[in-house]
Amino acid sequence: MLGITGGKVFDPINGIDGRLMDIWIKDGKVVPEEMIDKSEAQIIDASGKVVMPGGVDIHSHIAGAKVNSGRKMCPEDSLRLLRPRSQITRSGSGLTVPSTHLTGYLYSEMGYTTVMEAAAAPLVARHTHEELEDIPNIDKGVFITMGNNHFIMKCIRDGELGKAKDYVAWLVGAAKGFAIKIVNPGGVENWKYGKNVQNLDDEVIGFGVTPRQILTTLGQINKDLKLPHPLHIHGLRLGQAGNVDITIETMELMNEFNGHFCHVQFMSYGGERGSLPQSASKKIAQAINEKSGVSVDVGQIVFGPATTMTSDGPAQFSLHQRIGGKWINDDLESESGGGLAPLTFKRNNPLHGTMWLTGLEIFLLVDDPWKVFLTTDHPNAGPFLGYPQVIRLLMDRDYRTREFERLHTKAKKNALLPELKREYTLYEIAIITRGGPARRLGLKNKGHLGIGADADLTVYLPDDDKEEMFSHPAWVVKDGEIVVKDGHLVREQPGRTMYVSPNYDPQIEEDIKAHFKESYTISFENYSIRSEHMGPNEKISCD
């Protein structure tokens, strides 16, 4: 039993904006005060402090084949952050691609308690789950890539949408995924012929279907299956000048189905194709503001080292062609692909400055904070450890202006940012880092502190320097246990992996078996992941 008393609570899901309140915790849940025997409860005196639900990250690459390839490829990243073992914790290394235990410690020390791994191909999801089990102190889930899946594209080609629906339901359950992810629909398949897609009506080689059909089919299926999270979309032409138009076109297409558009900063550039990208923040923000079914996370650039990694193989290849250096590509049979390239974002680089501006402007121009969430698309735009700095940039206009002045002259020219006076409030920060992502993920027990919520919360020491405040919370509670005390990690405990397993017509398995014989190199019987082979896990219902 635990009481967090006298703190100033920011709990946007319950409409609480800085009210002085006591929070009571029993058996890992938030409970009413009368259920607590105060003579036995441990009390955290939070008077003068700020209390928020534990942070929820809607999009971060923390585990699995791609992340581990990043660790393997970049021993130099290990030297950027080294953590010795202690009495209670394991050793670890890595800043942009930290080792698994260290990932858990770092998120925990930053006040985060739930993190979604942004992508795994189902064929290698078993690897992702092994790593997730080795990330302590946070709950997690994984999005399953389906935008280039052969079975789905065949169903679309043959007009068998019911079959596609049963297959998707089977697949997300077989991979123990939490949501459906689309990455460059059709483009990753075309990359296996050295090509890509540029428009929604381009053809996917060998299937005769289009990105538009893949998006709407999966959008409809996502809706029909009542998955907790809407379709998680990484669209076409990531990182290319002028891509804002295709992003808006895709938002218009997906609005009726609901869609979450991830790392939208990378998808919101103006300028002629082939030229240097410009910020199209105004245009994209307007589209987001107008469309009720659309949410985004930003993928804000943080200057310094990054490791770019995505299932978007062709995007990684063109980045590699532009910047040179190391490059990994991995084509995955019948399902997906991916690539990686290390990259450092430099303040004095005009393009990087423009990307930094684009992200901040989107944050400041989207009116409704429930539609825009804080991410750095870790580690693509920078490590998640940059979140406190981004929070300061959003809350402190003077600091923002000073940082703006340090950019390259070319990036500053005609920039919109200096005109934007908005400063985020603590309540709004609580929305974009907790309430908003939790609600959009459909996690009813996360991101708030109402009765019955998971007892995940963070206590901050107020500070005018918001970066300092959000870097070093005083207390962090996970599942009712104190994991950070006086700013120090004091406890390592396993987190849960959340997954969905929607119902499907078992007849479909015969079709899938035939597909496996034809296309795969492993048998159907050895494909599905069983929950008893995972670490602690929780099935989230679809209703």
């Binding site: 585990a63 084949a65 992340v67 581990n68 660790r71 393997k72 490829m73 970049c74 021993p75 990243d77 290990s78 080294l82 953590r83 010795p84 073992r85 394991r90 050793s91 670890g92 290394s93 890595g94 691609v97 930290p98 080792s99 698994t100 235990h101 064929l123 290698v124 078993r126 690897h127 092994e130 790593e131 080795d134 990359w191 296996k192 012929y193 050295g194 060998g206 290849f317 590699h320 062609q321 190391k326 490059w327 990994i328 590509n329 991995d330 084509d331 995955l332 049979e333 019948s334 990686l340 034809e518 296309s519 795969y520 190199t521 492993i522 048998s523 019987e525 050895n526 992941i529 082979h533």
Partner: protein
């Protein structure tokens, strides 16, 4: 009672063929279907019966053996944990936890096979794919310094040269097979083109191919090949649809080592400007790829990791087992699921005989007799389930077909971790 278990995974080599049928009778394996000779004998020769652990040649109960093992590890100033390539990733994870706690050096058999491949990956990255992409797309296959018809017997039929796939409905007829090696092999005999090269010329040939691919003609000669042969090969590399180069220890463990593989990876990366191209190491043991993966996600590094300073550090030539043993820098060794007696050079193997050692494996091998503590465990994929990573890093869950009569590596490691924490 007899029963047939289908879709069993064979973990003998990195192919992890998952279509094996195993027939058992009264908890004995009596018949194997579809496995290659290597896999067949692994299953048929396996003895799952209970046997007690040994301490200094004396049969003891498990508790005593665990205490003896923990005692050796706790007393050591510089312990080594080595092997890992034939155990499950669940056990590998526990082995790393133990190493981290002890401040030990941990190293897998990658140390003596494909560590140079990891070093090349650290230098330039790697363009690769899963075996299904090879089966479905690859019209040009090159086997360099490897002999899969002997080492990975079903590789040809399941995944590569002879497999029928999406864009290759006629299998072998639709593909061109090239072998590059220093001597004729079983594999070179079935190739369309065999480029026999002189030992120690791999690097020069690979850089010449890079030059030729970019339209430049090298002005030097390479012993043993003529430039027309290389021009022909370079043209094939550029003109195929989807090419794959498989490579083995002929490239990684011969002169040049990681430089050879770096040159190969660079060539393959550059070929992606013309068409699509991938490279893939022929990983030997069933879960050696998993050892690299597990060590990487837990420490940041794939092989030869020292926790001696409290943080993970990598050191090729420094923390590699052979170098540490030959330099007499190790004072106790815990060998897991491998046989260093046959793979290590004399100086390293003889130091192993002088220090206290623990051997944990399901089957005794040439090293077992030398160990002070012998821990006979169950065999993943036969009498214990567990996860294993195929040579293309696709993870599979191994099935068990017999009743388990000995503890698993993972179970023993958990007990040893508990015991050393008490020390």
């Amino acid at each position: 009672m007899s029963r047939i278990i289908e879709d069993v995974i064979c973990k003998f080599c990195g192919c992890l063929c998952d279509d094996i049928a195993v027939e058992t009778e009264d908890d004995h394996i009596v018949k194997i279907k579809r496995a290659c000779p290597n896999g067949r004998s692994m299953f048929l020769d396996y003895d799952s019966s209970f046997s007690k652990p040994l301490v200094n040649g004396r049969e003891v109960e498990w508790d005593e053996a665990i205490t003896a093992a923990a005692d050796i590890l706790d007393k050591a100033d510089s312990p080594l944990i080595y092997g890992l390539s034939s155990t499950s990733s669940e056990s590998q994870r526990k082995a790393v936890e133990l190493a981290d706690h002890l401040g030990a050096v941990i190293d897998s058999t990658s140390s003596v096979c494909h560590f140079p491949t990891s070093q090349a990956l650290q230098a330039v990255g790697e363009a690769t794919c899963t075996l299904g992409e090879v089966k479905n797309r690859a019209d040009l296959l090159i086997y360099w310094g490897c002999n899969p018809l002997v080492s990975h017997i079903r590789h040809f039929s399941r995944y590569s040269a002879n497999a029928k796939g999406m864009l290759l409905p006629n299998g072998r007829k639709d593909r061109t097979v090239v072998v590059v090696d220093v001597r004729p092999t079983a594999t070179s005999k079935v190739a369309d083109i065999f480029l026999q090269i002189k030992p120690e010329t791999d690097y020069e040939i690979l850089s010449s191919l890079r030059a030729l691919v970019h339209g430049k003609k090298p002005e030097y000669c390479i012993d043993g090949v003529n430039i027309e042969q290389l021009e022909q090969l370079a043209a094939m590399l550029k003109n195929c649809r989807y090419g794959v180069i498989f490579f083995g220890m002929g490239l990684t463990m011969s002169t040049g080592r990681s430089y050879n593989v770096t040159e190969l990876f660079t060539l393959v990366a550059e070929l992606n400007k013309f068409n699509r191209f991938s490279a893939m190491p022929m990983r030997g043991h069933g879960n050696v790829a998993g050892a690299d993966q597990v060590l990487t996600w837990l420490s940041g590094y794939p092989t030869a990791v020292s926790f001696a300073c409290g943080i993970p550090q990598i050191g090729p030539g420094e923390f590699t087992s052979v170098d540490m043993l030959a330099g007499k820098e190790i004072d106790a060794a815990f060998i897991i699921a491998s046989n260093p007696a046959v793979h290590f050079p004399h100086a390293a193997a003889s130091h192993l005989k002088k220090i206290p050692t623990i051997h944990m494996a399901p089957v005794s091998n040439g090293f077992t007799g030398d160990a002070d503590v012998i821990l006979p465990t169950a065999c993943y994929g036969i009498d214990a389930p567990g996860t294993s990573y195929r040579m293309d890093n696709v993870p599979l869950r191994l099935r068990s077909v017999l009743k388990k009569k000995r503890p698993t590596d993972e179970e023993v490691l958990i007990q040893i971790i508990k015991a050393v924490k008490k020390c």
